[in-house]
């Protein structure tokens, strides 16, 4: 910190019925992160200030919030990244319903996760082992770094500004999960129909907002979403693949699945 031995945050306090920013000033410590200041506010000023946190080391993804409007982990946002005297606001994630203060109802993400067909491995090798090479697991390991902070979901404008889209859109976190399963060297399950329809991959118009806020630096758009889109295109919009699927009926397409020429789900209006 600088010579200023106090820090001030304006923290959103309230419930689903409304609220406002309250300013709190507490003594500063060297190397403080925003979550440290929140804890100090609890200890000295507002004991009932509601916040989620666990590891305080960027590993659990609990303390997601909007700091000066940016989707961030509070535990990984250093106070010395702000200019002295800069107005600093801390608000709950906007995309999810407010429970209280900085705590939101993130059950949407858990409900979407339940819909994903599980991992289903192919048979073992003849010698009873599972052989996978590092170069084959590298790209999926990138997706497994996800700490489920849901900041990508928070910032995704398909659901951030359009509550109705939540019904038909799983969001970047779940696209990362789907990509991890689809690209897993051992997996045999088929999720492409779900990706295209129920998960609503077509809603994403690749603005990369999710990638920009990911605290784990997962290349969500380039490495997960775009490859999934390519798979959907070759599965559903390649006429040869469509005929082959009809004839060989691998994974038996259901009558609700669209054939070639049917439209993508509508993107939200900008």
């Amino acid at each position: 910190m600088t010579q200023d031995r106090n820090v001030t945050l304006r923290v959103w306090r309230g419930t689903k019925d409304g609220g406002r920013y309250e300013p709190y000033t507490v003594p500063a410590d060297e190397g403080m992160v925003v979550l440290d200041v929140i804890h100090k506010i609890q200890a000295l000023r507002a004991p009932d200030l509601a916040v989620r946190w666990n590891c305080k080391a960027g590993k659990c993804g609990s303390c997601s919030a909007e700091i000066n409007g940016n989707a961030r982990l509070m535990c990984m946002t250093r106070m010395n990244t702000f200019a002295p005297g800069e107005d600093i606001t801390v608000a709950p994630m906007k995309t999810f319903p407010i429970i209280r203060d900085l705590v939101t109802d993130v059950s949407y993400n858990y409900e979407k996760a339940k819909e994903i067909p599980p991992f289903r491995p192919k048979p073992k090798e003849a010698d009873g082992t599972r052989r996978m090479y590092q170069e084959d697991v590298d790209r999926v390991q990138e997706f497994h770094k996800c700490i489920e902070c849901f900041l990508c979901q928070d910032t995704c404008h398909v659901i951030r500004d359009h509550e109705d889209n939540k019904k038909a859109f799983a969001g970047p976190r779940l696209f990362v999960r789907l990509a991890a399963l689809e690209m897993h060297p051992l997996d045999t399950n088929d999720r492409l129909a779900l990706i295209r329809q129920k998960a609503g991959l077509g809603f994403c118009n690749i603005t990369k907002c999710c990638t920009e806020v990911c605290p784990e630096d997962i290349h969500i758009t380039d490495n997960a979403i775009i490859p999934l889109k390519e798979r959907v295109v070759s599965e559903f919009y390649d006429p040869l693949a469509w005929v082959k699927r009809r004839v060989l009926s691998k994974g038996a397409p259901t009558p609700t699945q669209p054939g070639p020429g049917e439209p993508e789900p509508p993107s939200q209006k900008a």
Binding site: A43, I99, F119, V140
Partner: protein, 603 residues
């Protein structure tokens, strides 16, 4: 208290805690046909397991084919200074490989060997490279895979639900009472069997690697229900926590740094661990820098580097160096991998350590040595369990993971925790399901529910002046300064008096606001369990008049073979803690010989 209509759910088995042990227990209980619920204080996937870094210890033999369960068992018993429950250590060493391979069947992607198998890494106290890992984020991989597996099995999960009391019927488990964090409303679970998988109590110390969840609540619930705790004096201080800046003090730095080649140095640049090799490990430990460095590549002809002595030894050594004035400016020592391994290797093997130091301390660990010091990390003591089924001493109660005791004796080896969670989580789930299938649902005693609910609401009605945050800070200061790495009769006696004082003041804690997601109230409730378990730790530490593993007495510096035959047992009777000593289970002679055998010296 006016009687509110309390929400009620009924299950065969409830599992309390959704870290590695709880998830694995729930999966097993559910697979055995028990109607199972998993109940956790945080959101699913945020439990402390997510922070585990280095890996899962299992004698897969992928890197060193010489490794097997016997070697792992020997390492575990010696690391635990022979205070371990031998049967738990044996089951653990035998079953850990299957539990790791099972995770792979469920989708885990561990780092690979060049021939496509699970890669294993070196860690303290392990003879061979044994830890299956994913960079330095192994716990995240483990919890996420278990979480997804549990969700797909359709297990009912209750998140942000904090259980506070076990309910009993004539001394047998009948269920549990807790509250929803979101609404503050009470909830009762009727259950034939309860599996505790609630972790430890590290939040009672000031410098700690543990999160807010580590409040000793499971141990307290077990005590209240009549169960035995053992080995409560055995607390692990991890040698390498961050020391600077103050806001990150205590944050864990993985032992994998040393496993991958990092070394400890004092302010004079000396690799001081060579001065701290205890007689017990002399045969297993390199005594020159040349041999220590050669060991990473050639384990047949070299002994292990003293940087990778068990954690209790390394933590004490660092403590001594700092006290002797050979520490860093911020009161730690240096952990140097920058001068010993290439930058790319460090970033690949230790990505989250790289990130953590860069973001939080402005230190690039590929060019600069880290400043580290001991941090409260783990408690070896906990609920006494029966090895095969993880059953506690109260019918219907089971415990697995850090909340349980015996497996690690006086000191836990790194990597043995994640494997413990899997091995005994599975056994606890199976044990609880089997118990539930041959028992019947018990009546919930309204009197117990009402008494507990009334006491939980007391902080709202108090007119006292005690602030829960201030009381917590005093508790942490007390445990840090008086019940730390090095202990004495005088300091422990002082600590016990202070804890009794805090206990009296706990009744005067008053909280502001209402019951809806109110952290001040939650902390007031957690203080009760933190204080109860802190007292069990301090009094057990006073009773054990020797030094062993995680328990070092300045006034009794020697390890005493007679004390090595005894567990310190804590019980609650008539509302008061009672402590006594009881004999350890006897290890069979062939296994005793294996544990005491000396390793072959290099030629």
């Amino acid at each position: 208290m006016s009687r509110e209509g309390i929400e009620r759910h009924d299950y065969d088995v409830i599992v309390v805690g959704a870290g590695g042990a709880g998830l694995r227990a729930a999966v097993e209980a559910s697979a055995a046909g028990a109607h199972t619920a998993l109940i956790c204080k945080s959101l699913l996937g945020k439990a402390h397991t997510v922070m585990a870094e280095g890996g899962i210890a299992a004698a897969l033999g992928n890197v060193w084919k010489e490794d097997n369960w016997r070697v792992h068992f020997r390492d575990t018993m010696r690391g635990g200074k022979l205070l371990n429950n031998w049967r738990m250590a044996q089951l653990h060493a035998q079953e850990a490989p299957d539990r790791v391979l099972e995770l792979e069947e469920w989708g885990a992607l561990f780092d690979r060997t060049t021939d496509g198998l699970i890669l294993q890494r070196d860690f303290g106290g392990h003879r061979y490279a044994r830890l299956a890992h994913v960079g330095d984020r192994t716990g995240l991989e483990m919890i996420r895979i278990l979480q997804q597996h549990a969700v797909h099995k359709g297990i009912d999960v209750y998140m942000e639900c904090n259980l506070q009391r076990l309910l009993t019927d004539g001394g047998t488990i009948a269920g549990a009472l807790g509250y929803w964090r979101e609404s503050g409303k009470f909830v009762v679970f009727g259950a034939r069997a309860v599996v505790l998988a609630t972790g430890g109590v590290g939040k009672a110390w000031k410098i700690t690697s543990n999160s807010w969840e580590y409040t000793g609540d499971g141990m307290t619930m077990a005590l209240d229900a009549g169960a035995d705790l053992i080995d409560m004096e055995m607390v692990q201080f991890h040698p390498t926590g961050m020391v600077w800046p103050p806001s990150v003090r205590g944050l864990l730095v993985t032992e994998g740094v040393r496993g991958d080649g990092g070394t400890l140095k004092n302010a004079q640049g000396k690799r001081f661990m060579f001065d701290y090799i205890p007689e017990f490990f002399r045969g297993d430990t390199a005594d020159t820098e040349r041999e220590a460095d050669a060991w990473y590549e050639d384990k047949k002809n070299n002994r292990r580097t003293p940087d990778l002595l068990p954690r209790d030894e390394v933590a004490r050594a660092i403590n001594t160096e700092v006290k002797a004035g050979r520490g860093t400016p911020h009161g730690g020592v240096y952990l140097d991998i920058a001068s010993r391994r290439p930058a790319e290797y460090i970033k690949k093997r230790l990505p989250s350590m790289y990130h953590q130091f860069k973001e939080l301390a402005d230190v690039d660990i590929t060019t600069t040595a880290m400043e580290i010091g001991p941090t409260c990390h783990y408690i070896m003591g906990g609920v006494r369990v029966e090895p095969e089924t993880a059953a506690a001493t109260v019918p219907g109660l089971f415990a697995a993971g850090e909340v349980a005791a015996g497996m690690h004796g006086a000191n836990r080896l790194g990597g043995n925790s994640l494997s413990d969670l899997l091995v005994f989580g599975r056994r606890a789930g199976a044990g609880a399901a089997a118990y539930a299938s041959r028992s019947h649902a018990r009546a919930i005693d309204d009197g117990q529910v009402e008494a507990a609910a009334r006491s939980m609401l007391a902080p709202f009605e108090g007119e006292g002046s005690e602030n829960p945050y201030a009381l917590h800070a005093e508790l942490q200061e007390t445990m840090q300064s008086l019940v730390g790495i090095i202990r004495t009769d005088a300091e422990l006696t002082q600590a016990i008096a202070k804890l009794d004082d805090l206990d009296g003041r706990l009744e005067r804690v008053t909280v502001e606001g209402n019951r809806q997601f109110n952290p001040g109230w939650h902390l007031a409730l957690d203080l009760r369990s933190m204080l109860t378990i802190s007292k069990a730790v301090a009094r057990s530490a006073l009773m054990r008049q020797e030094s062993r593993g995680g328990h070092t007495r300045d006034d009794f510096p020697k390890t005493d073979p007679e004390w090595g035959k005894l567990n310190v047992v804590t019980r609650k009777r008539g509302g008061r803690l009672e402590l006594t000593t009881e004999p350890l289970p006897q290890i069979p002679e062939d296994l005793r010989q294996l544990v005491l055998s000396e390793e072959k010296q290099p030629a």
